[in-house]
């Protein structure tokens, strides 16, 4: 039956190129190949987000008057609504975590080196987009916690020099976080960001397919001239392993959604007293806590501004890393960048933990 359908298609649109690609595609086998799974797992969760996000759209209402009630309706009245919403929330968090893991693994293995600069570029932009998804989606249930966290988050954007105030108004749709902000974040979350992410994911995957998997520098150096690493066929050997990893994710997601339901909290009230313990999602904690630590004035400049500029420089550095790391470009070891990555990782982990427990 399946074969007949393929033959039918083949007669009309020549499938030989796809068949050739499927038969030829291989994955290099070596001791570091475990890191290859992270990208596929992140991609899988992106798919989960798209599917559950579309389902949530069927009942969600993006207005200050109805948003909270509609989410409440989804989790209490709609059959399996709790499951869809919990999976969407948990999967979002796992997605960010895996995207970070993918990012660090690529950084440590120096897989960004020539010829994969563009893959790195699309990947780092995707990482930023995922953070944007998290930031905009956090507000949508319109509860106390997300409302005040959004005030703080958009407020730090307002600390940017020169264009800060403009950016703050652009994000909030006014001077304050109101229903207008909710409309904007909704549009961002379900239309603008998905469109950008789809284009970038397509480009990212196309590049990965075109260039094949990168072999880590350390392993490449051990090869004798002319020697090639053994390959594993992608179909079906490797894809089956990918699917296995996805099944692990499904199990983890289902368990988290069932046993640790995502809280909805109280409806946002702009005139309520700020409840204690307002903090952003965990992946913004390190930045949030750092900005808290910076003294109000450094050498006559506003501390907050300096912090925001510093983070901007770090982001820019990450974008252009493949062009700065000249050594790995020549196929040499580049310990400086490894040290930078270690420092970055240690900073993120410690500040996230401290930020979590800090009062």
């Amino acid at each position: 039956m399946l074969q007949k359908t393929i033959d039918w298609l083949d007669e009309r649109v020549d499938l030989s190129e796809i068949r050739h690609f499927v038969a030829e595609k291989g994955v290099p086998v070596h001791t570091q190949k475990v890191w290859y799974y992270l990208g596929g797992m992140t991609l899988f969760l992106f798919g989960v987000q798209v599917a559950t996000g579309i389902l949530l759209l069927l009942y969600y209402r993006p207005s200050a008057a109805e948003a909270y009630e509609s989410v409440q309706f989804i989790v209490t009245k709609v059959e399996f609504g709790w499951l869809i919403r919990n999976i969407h929330s948990w999967s979002a968090n796992l997605l960010v975590a895996l995207a970070f893991a993918h990012f660090f693994s690529v950084f440590f293995l120096k897989s960004y080196r020539k010829p994969r600069e563009l893959t790195w570029l699309s990947g780092i932009l995707l990482l930023f987009l995922m953070l944007g998804f998290g930031f905009s989606g956090y507000l949508l249930p319109w509860n106390e916690l997300s409302f005040f966290a959004t005030k703080v988050g958009t407020g730090s954007a307002g600390a940017m020099p020169i264009m800060g105030h403009f950016l703050l108004r652009l994000l909030r749709g006014g001077d304050d976080v109101t229903g207008a902000t909710l409309s904007r974040f909704y549009g961002l979350h379900v239309a603008i960001l998905p469109a950008m992410a789809t284009a970038l994911v397509a480009g990212h995957l196309l590049l990965v397919q075109r260039q094949g998997m990168s072999v880590p520098l350390s392993i490449e150096k051990k090869l004798k001239p002319g020697e090639k690493l053994p390959q594993m066929p992608f179909f079906p050997n490797y894809i089956m392993r990918d699917v296995l990893a996805w099944y692990v994710l499904i199990a983890v997601l289902a368990a988290l959604a069932a046993f640790y339901p995502w809280e909805l909290g109280n409806k946002a009230d702009p005139f309520a007293v700020v409840p204690p313990g307002i903090r952003p999602e965990w992946y913004f904690l390190a930045v949030f806590y750092t900005l808290k630590l910076i003294p109000s004035h450094i050498l006559g400049f506003e501390g907050e501004k300096i912090g925001v500029i510093a983070f901007g420089i770090v982001a820019l550095f990450l974008v252009v890393v493949p062009f700065l790391d000249r050594k790995s470009l020549r196929g040499e070891r580049s310990p400086v960048f490894t040290v930078l990555a270690v420092l970055g990782l240690v900073y993120l982990v410690t500040f996230t933990i401290i930020g979590h427990y800090a009062k």
Binding site: L55, K77, V78, E79, F80, L83, I84, Y247, I250
Partner: protein, 148 residues
């Protein structure tokens, strides 16, 4: 050779069963999710349609009866009648036509008499009739419409 083939076929079958069960386990909650829950709102029993004084003879008014429209009419003879304003053809909202003293649906030109019966056009049956009571006296009197 055959033993090897059988083992492979068996494992392939097992894998297929696994994938199909996964798909089914995902499709079931999604299918249930897509069906909107039954509205918790109780069926409206009665509603205030209008002030008695605002309805002149040979006029009508569409009012909110629960979450669907109703229509109350004072006939040229001065009698009050009320119906569901949902046309029985395709759920459009009917209106009162003073020139013919009939209820008329603008969507497909269906007409009903003031007893709610179909006069002409595509509606398959008459409009649901409601009971009308007047509560209070004088200028404050309210027209109360209830499910018959």
């Amino acid at each position: 050779m055959t033993a090897d083939f059988d083992r492979r076929a068996f494992l392939d079958g097992l894998l297929a069963v696994g994938f199909v069960s996964t798909a089914a386990a995902m499709a079931y909650p999604v299918a249930r999710y897509l069906v909107p829950p039954v509205s918790g709102e109780p069926e409206t029993a009665s509603a205030v349609a209008a002030k008695a004084s605002e309805l002149k003879p040979n006029s009508g008014k569409v009012f909110k009866f629960g979450n669907r429209p109703g229509i109350v009419v004072r006939t040229p003879e001065g009698e009050l009648v009320a119906f569901s304003a949902v046309c029985t053809h395709l759920d459009c909202t009917v209106q009162f036509k003073a020139d013919t003293s009939q209820l008329w649906c603008a969507c497909h030109n269906g007409t009903y008499d003031l007893g709610g019966n179909v006069v002409s056009g595509p509606p398959p049956r008459g409009l649901e009739k409601f009971a009308v009571n007047v509560r209070g006296e004088g200028a404050d009197a309210e027209i109360v419409v209830s499910r018959a």
